[in-house]
Symmetry: C2
Subunit: 349 residues, 2 copies
Amino acid sequence: MPAPNPSEKALVPFVSVANMMRLVHHVGIEPMLIGLAAAIEADFRRWETFDKTPRVASHSSEGVIELMPTSDGEIYSFKYVNGHPSNMGRGLQTVTAFGLLAEVSTGYPVLLTEMTLLTALRTAATSAMAARYLAPKNATTMALIGNGAQAEFQALAMKAIVGTERVRLYDIDPLATAKAARNLEDFGVEVTVCSSSQEAIEGAQIITTCTADKQYATILTDNMVGSGVHINAIGGDCPGKTELHRDILLRADTFVEFPPQTRIEGEIQQMDAEYPVTELWRVVTGTAIGRRDERQVTLFDSVGFAIEDFSALRYIRSQLGGGEFSERLDIIADPDESRDLFGMLLRAA
Amino acid sequence: MPAPNPSEKALVPFVSVANMMRLVHHVGIEPMLIGLAAAIEADFRRWETFDKTPRVASHSSEGVIELMPTSDGEIYSFKYVNGHPSNMGRGLQTVTAFGLLAEVSTGYPVLLTEMTLLTALRTAATSAMAARYLAPKNATTMALIGNGAQAEFQALAMKAIVGTERVRLYDIDPLATAKAARNLEDFGVEVTVCSSSQEAIEGAQIITTCTADKQYATILTDNMVGSGVHINAIGGDCPGKTELHRDILLRADTFVEFPPQTRIEGEIQQMDAEYPVTELWRVVTGTAIGRRDERQVTLFDSVGFAIEDFSALRYIRSQLGGGEFSERLDIIADPDESRDLFGMLLRAA
């Protein structure tokens, strides 16, 4: 005999990868990046209303698995995300993720969704939102060092939100650069393929580093970085993984998401605990200064924070409409009489 | 145009509530409780191989949402679980849960499952496994105070694993007791409906308390508890929520799962930090003594720990067979070329 049908309350909307892709195309890639950046910016404005905690990381020799929870007191969110640089060699994604929204008042989930694509989108949207506050006025050229899974999202978010017109690509693997250049062909951004990091950053006002090696790498050295640039450092995002030479950090004004997490995971793990940083939310709310002058080097030491996922999950939920882009998942046991869980099980026999 | 079909690697086995109920009946309720207890005991034997951390709790006035991760270095697990006593009045479950297993080496999920039912099963299996080490020899009668969603699972696990023959039920709500008595009718255990906690514990060698109020309650006072009993305290499981008068704790030998978590959440939150406890895994491995003599009062101050969920998830995975009890969920983005996440999105247009 089949089990009884679950009730409405027991069914959680679920966005599969296929449905997320359909939703992205329905909204449009650039409009979605703009929508996500607006949602993230709105939540940065009310930063103080959130429960904040460094993500809970489980490290191994191959990578890391992290849980990233937060809550604004009404809605709770968390993301499951891994980071395994060695996955690339096995034909697997370096970063995969899924996430959930739940009602704080009942603890019941209200959305479960893939977040591999959504993390790429929200990371790019966050970078671009930060660059809008920190990059030199009228920045038109970005360098993109590291042309892996995150690259095209970064290029399009900077175009859509900051207004960059040119992107200069470099990766130690020319195949990665060729892939990114090909994917960006039809988006109205001028793509230049470069043969070194040095060449890529020529004339760029925004320098984005998003490489995946789990090690202390030096993608940028101090002498490569001129004045009047904004560095958007994405790849240094776990202990033992950095991309910038520390001399750059000594010269830059550094902006971060959540200092207790960034001091462990970000570029600033190279610096001592007194190294000064500014929280990005303070720039967004106007309680701290972003870019002071045209010659300043600004650095967004981005590691990714739970509030960005919260914003992204709520944005996706707001776009789901009448169920065209989601299934309903029977993941919550919901007996007719709440204390009669065992009776529900018995009746299913 | 429909999105391309996801590859095998991208599909995660998912056990819905309906399928979990089918699986429980396929295995049998008591055989599954025995299997779960064996899996949990085996993992308690290798306690030191696990990454252990207190669960990550997000508290609100209505309840708590928790993430419970652990790993043995090869497999990672976490559970999402809420505890909302006020849900009962709204016709919702006090506790709902789901959980996941992932490969540590890749970070890829390998199982997603409902865990509302599975948590009830594993909690009862853990209680019974502990009672087998701690209860007086030949315990035949259990008192069950609090007859909510967890009650019948507790009664059957004690019967299947410890060999109890009689259960004495009491709840402040007679309807809950009637429900539990009715559900237990056909399981070969002698059920006595009692009208007070005092009456329920008469002649019982095992006293289980599993009430749901989020407050410092006193379900048992010291004068109620005779010598030579084992107390299985389930309901005191978050800050501000206890069931036993502290005088009982002064008289009992107390066994716990993971002291850093239990000191925050368990009955022993009433005691100072020096209050002595024995870790249950040490009793299981024979490096600590469980029950010393027949007059001793033992207390299992159970709050639920991530390793029990790990064991339960692995047990369920081992029982899934060829997919008869699971669906396959498109939750992991998996482009043909691992760095070409954006290309996968483009091609889905």
